[in-house]
C-alpha cells in the first residue's frame, strides 16, 4: 500500500522520501507504512511543486488534522482519487473550543468527505460519530517499542520523578505544568523536566521561592526524542496531571522504559497501561498517595509495571496497522 502522511509538522528535507525515523510522534505512521510525509500547508502553497492530483499515486493519505490542514484535506479529497483518513492530531478541546466556528464548519465538511476518521481516545468516538456518517474508530499512534528496548536496557532507577511537562515559554507546551509542579512539591522528591529554552529553568527557580520543590533537573528537548527516552529510562516514575482528552505519548514512553506513570485516564494510553495509577488531573492528593505507594511498596510497583507490560502490545506496529486497516475497510 502506498501511503502518505500530510501533517502540520515543520518542513524537513526528507519530505517526499521514504520516511524511516521511528520515534513517538505522528510521523511514525509513515515509517511503519513505508510511506512518505509532506507538510500540508506547504504543499498547498506549492512549495513542493506538486498539484493535488499527485495524491492519486497513493492508496491512502492520512491527514493529521489541525486547523492548518483542514482545507488541505478537503482539497486532497476533491482533487484526487485517493482514500483519505482523517487522523485527529490534537486533544479534543483543540477542535471543540479553540478552533474558530468558521473552521469547525469546514472540519465537519471534511469529516464527512473523508473515508474514515481516526480518534485518539475511545471516549471521543460518540462525539465524532455525531459529526460524521463516515466510520470513526480509535487507531492511535504506533510505538517503536523494539527500538526503545534496544536503546534503553534495564538500569538502576534513580529516585526522581519524570514530569510530563513543566512551565514553558511556549504556550502549547504548558499543559497543566503548574499542577505537575504543585504535585511534585507535595511529594517532596526530586524531579526531571524537559525544557525548550533556558528561561524555563528561571521560571522553576522563581517559583521555588514559594513552592517547596526539591532538586529539579533540566533536560533540553532540542537534543531529540532519542536522548530524552534514554535519559527518562533512569527515572523511577512518571507524573503528568494533564487535563486534555488525548492519546498521551507520555504514559507509553514511561511504560516502554519500565517505569510507572501517574496520570488521568483522559490520556488514553494511561487508561490502558496504568489503570491503577489513574487520577483526575485536579487530584493532587490522590497523585501524591499513589507516588508514595509506588516508592514504598515494591510489590505494587512491580504489579503495575507487569500489567503495563501485558498491555503494551496494543500499541505495537502490527496492532495499530490492524486497527487502521479495519477502519478503512
Amino acid at each position: 500500500m502506498k501511503f502518505c502522511l500530510l501533517s502540520a509538522e515543520p518542513y524537513h528535507p526528507d519530505h517526499g522520501k521514504i520516511y524511516t525515523i521511528q520515534q513517538n510522534n505522528t510521523n511514525i505512521w509513515a515509517a511503519i507504512m513505508g510511506g512518505t510525509v509532506y507538510n500540508g500547508p506547504l504543499f498547498d502553497r506549492g512549495d513542493y511543486g506538486l498539484d493535488y492530483d499527485y495524491f492519486d499515486e497513493f492508496d491512502l493519505v492520512m491527514l493529521a488534522l489541525r486547523q492548518e490542514t483542514i482545507e488541505v484535506g478537503i482539497k486532497v479529497k476533491q482533487r484526487s482519487k485517493t482514500k483519505v483518513i482523517v487522523f485527529l492530531d490534537a486533544e479534543v478541546d483543540y477542535f471543540t473550543t479553540y478552533t474558530p466556528l468558521s473552521l469547525k464548519a469546514k472540519m465537519v465538511e471534511l469529516l464527512n468527505m473523508a473515508d474514515a476518521v481516526a480518534v485518539l481516545h475511545d471516549e471521543s468516538v460518540p462525539f465524532f460519530k455525531a459529526l460524521t456518517t463516515r466510520p470513526v474508530g480509535l487507531v492511535g499512534l504506533p510505538f517503536p517499542l523494539k527500538r526503545v528496548r534496544q536503546m534503553c536496557p534495564p538500569v538502576q532507577k534513580q529516585e526522581e520523578i519524570e514530569l510530563g511537562s513543566s512551565i514553558s515559554s511556549f504556550l502549547i507546551h504548558n499543559r497543566n505544568a503548574l499542577i505537575n509542579l504543585a504535585a511534585l512539591s507535595e511529594i517532596g522528591m526530586p524531579g526531571v523536566v524537559n525544557i525548550w529554552e533556558p528561561i524555563e529553568m528561571e521560571y522553576v527557580r522563581s517559583i521555588r521561592e514559594y513552592l517547596p520543590i526539591q532538586q529539579i533537573k533540566f533536560r533540553y528537548n532540542n537534543l531529540g526524542w532519542d536522548h530524552y527516552i534514554t535519559q527518562a529510562n533512569y527515572s523511577l516514575l512518571g507524573l503528568h496531571l494533564d487535563n486534555r482528552y488525548s492519546w498521551g505519548r507520555f504514559p507509553i514512553d514511561c511504560a516502554a522504559v519500565r517505569m510507572p506513570c501517574v496520570a488521568p485516564p483522559s490520556l488514553y494510553t494511561q487508561k490502558i497501561l496504568f489503570p491503577r495509577l489513574c487520577v483526575p488531573h485536579r487530584d493532587i492528593e490522590g497523585a501524591v498517595a499513589l507516588v508514595k505507594k509506588l516508592v514504598s511498596d515494591a510489590d505494587f510497583y512491580e504489579e503495575v509495571i507487569s500489567y503495563a507490560e501485558s498491555q503494551i502490545e496494543l500499541f505495537s506496529y502490527e496492532q495499530c496497522k490492524m486497527r487502521l486497516f479495519n477502519l478503512i475497510s
Binding site: V92, D93, F95, T96, T97, L101, S102, K104, A105, V108, E109, L111, N112, E123, S124, P126, F127, A130, L131, T132, T133, I167, S168, S169, L171, N174, R175, N176, A177, L178, I179, A182, A183, S185, E186, I199, E200, Y203, S206, I207, E209, Y210, L211, N243, Y245, S266, R282, D283, I284, E285
Partner: protein, 321 residues
C-alpha cells in the same frame, strides 16, 4: 467595610448591578469597581497607594491583572483577595510561563485566594501558604424571580450553554436528542456556519438569539424547557445557575461547581458523554416526576448562591487573614 473590585470588565460595564457577572461582587459589597488595565495605564489618574483607602480589594485575576494585583499589594496597605476569574485550566495551561511565575507570586503575596470550584482548593492550596476558600459569584436571584422572569409556559426547546466553549459538543448532543435548540449568537455568521454543518449533521431547528444584555438573555432562557452545556472547564458555571433560577433543569458535567451543587442527578460522566446527556434529556422529557424532583432539589440549594450567602463566604475568608 470599604470594598473595591479590580477586574477586566470593560469600563462601560463597571457600574452594572444585579446581573450574573463578576460585577455583582462590587454591587453586594457596595463598593467601587475599576478596570485593572485602565488603572495600570493611568486612566484613573491615581497611583497604586490610592487603594490604601479600602479595607478589602478583590483582584479578579486574569493574565492581564496579575501584575496589577502585585502592585496593589506592594504599593498600598489594602488587604487583597485574589479571585480566580477563569477556569483552572486557564491558569495552569493557557497562560504564558512568565505569567504563571507571576501568578504564583501573586497567590503568595495576596492575603487570601477565592476560588470558584471546590475542586480548585487542593490545587491552589499546593501553590500558596495563604488561606484559600470557595467564594464563587453572587447571584441576583431576587431580581430574576421578582422582576425579570415570571412563571411562563415552557417551550420544548433546549437552551445550549455556548457556541464557543465546547458549543460544538452541545450541537452534536442536540442532534442526537432531536429537540429544537436555542443559542445565543455572537454574530450573524454563526447562523451561516450552523447552516453549513446542517448539510452533514441532523441538527434540529435552532432559534438564534442575540442578547448582549444579561437581562434579555435570562428572559429568553425562561421560556426554554431545559439547558445543556457539555463544557470541559473546571469553573463556577454561570449557565447552570441561570437555569436553576428560571426553574429549568440543566445537563452538564460536574466540573461546573453550580451544576454539581444544583443538579447532581443531571451531571454527565464528562463533557464528551453525549450518550449520557441524551439519556438524561430523554428522562426529563418523559418523566414529569423526574423533572420535578431535580427542580425541587435545585430550588433547595439556591440559597447558597444568593447575594447574602456569597457575601458571607467572602467575609469568612477575609476573617481568616
Amino acid at each position: 467595610m470599604k470594598f473595591c473590585l479590580v477586574s477586566q470588565t470593560p469600563p462601560s460595564d463597571l457600574k452594572i448591578k444585579d446581573v450574573n457577572r463578576i460585577t455583582q461582587w462590587a454591587a453586594v459589597m457596595e463598593g467601587d469597581h475599576y478596570n485593572g488595565m485602565s488603572f495600570e495605564h493611568g486612566h484613573n489618574s491615581f497611583s497604586y497607594d490610592f487603594f490604601s483607602e479600602y479595607d478589602l480589594v478583590m483582584v479578579a485575576v486574569r493574565h492581564e491583572t496579575i501584575e496589577v494585583g502585585l502592585k496593589i499589594k506592594r504599593q498600598s496597605s489594602a488587604r487583597v483577595v485574589v479571585f480566580l476569574d477563569g477556569e483552572i485550566e486557564y491558569f495552569t495551561s493557557y497562560i504564558m510561563g512568565d505569567k504563571q511565575v507571576k501568578f504564583i507570586e501573586l497567590l503568595n503575596t495576596a492575603d487570601a485566594v477565592g476560588v470558584t470550584h471546590e475542586y480548585d482548593i487542593p490545587i491552589i492550596k499546593a501553590m500558596t501558604t495563604r488561606p484559600v476558600g470557595m467564594v464563587g459569584v453572587p447571584f441576583p436571584l431576587k431580581r430574576v424571580r421578582e422582576e425579570l422572569c415570571p412563571q411562563v409556559e415552557k417551550k420544548q426547546v433546549i437552551q445550549l450553554g455556548s457556541m464557543l466553549r465546547n458549543g460544538f459538543i452541545n450541537l452534536a448532543a442536540l442532534s442526537e436528542i432531536g429537540l429544537p435548540g436555542s443559542i445565543d449568537m455572537y454574530s450573524r455568521k454563526d447562523e451561516e456556519y450552523i447552516r453549513l454543518m446542517r448539510k452533514y449533521m441532523p441538527i434540529p431547528q435552532i432559534y438564534f438569539n442575540f442578547t448582549p444584555r444579561w437581562e434579555d438573555y435570562i428572559t429568553q432562557l425562561n421560556y426554554s424547557f431545559m439547558g445543556l452545556h457539555l463544557d470541559f472547564r473546571q469553573i463556577w458555571g454561570r449557565f447552570a445557575l441561570d437555569c436553576a433560577a428560571v426553574k429549568i433543569p440543566c445537563i452538564a458535567p460536574d466540573n461546573f461547581y453550580t451544576q454539581k451543587r444544583l443538579f447532581p442527578r443531571l451531571c454527565v460522566k464528562n463533557y464528551q458523554d453525549i450518550d449520557g446527556a441524551v439519556k438524561l434529556a430523554g428522562e426529563l422529557l418523559k418523566k414529569t416526576s423526574f423533572y420535578e424532583e431535580v427542580m425541587a432539589y435545585a430550588e433547595s440549594q439556591l440559597y447558597f448562591f444568593d447575594n447574602k450567602a456569597a457575601k458571607k463566604r467572602l467575609l469568612d475568608l477575609f476573617n481568616k487573614i
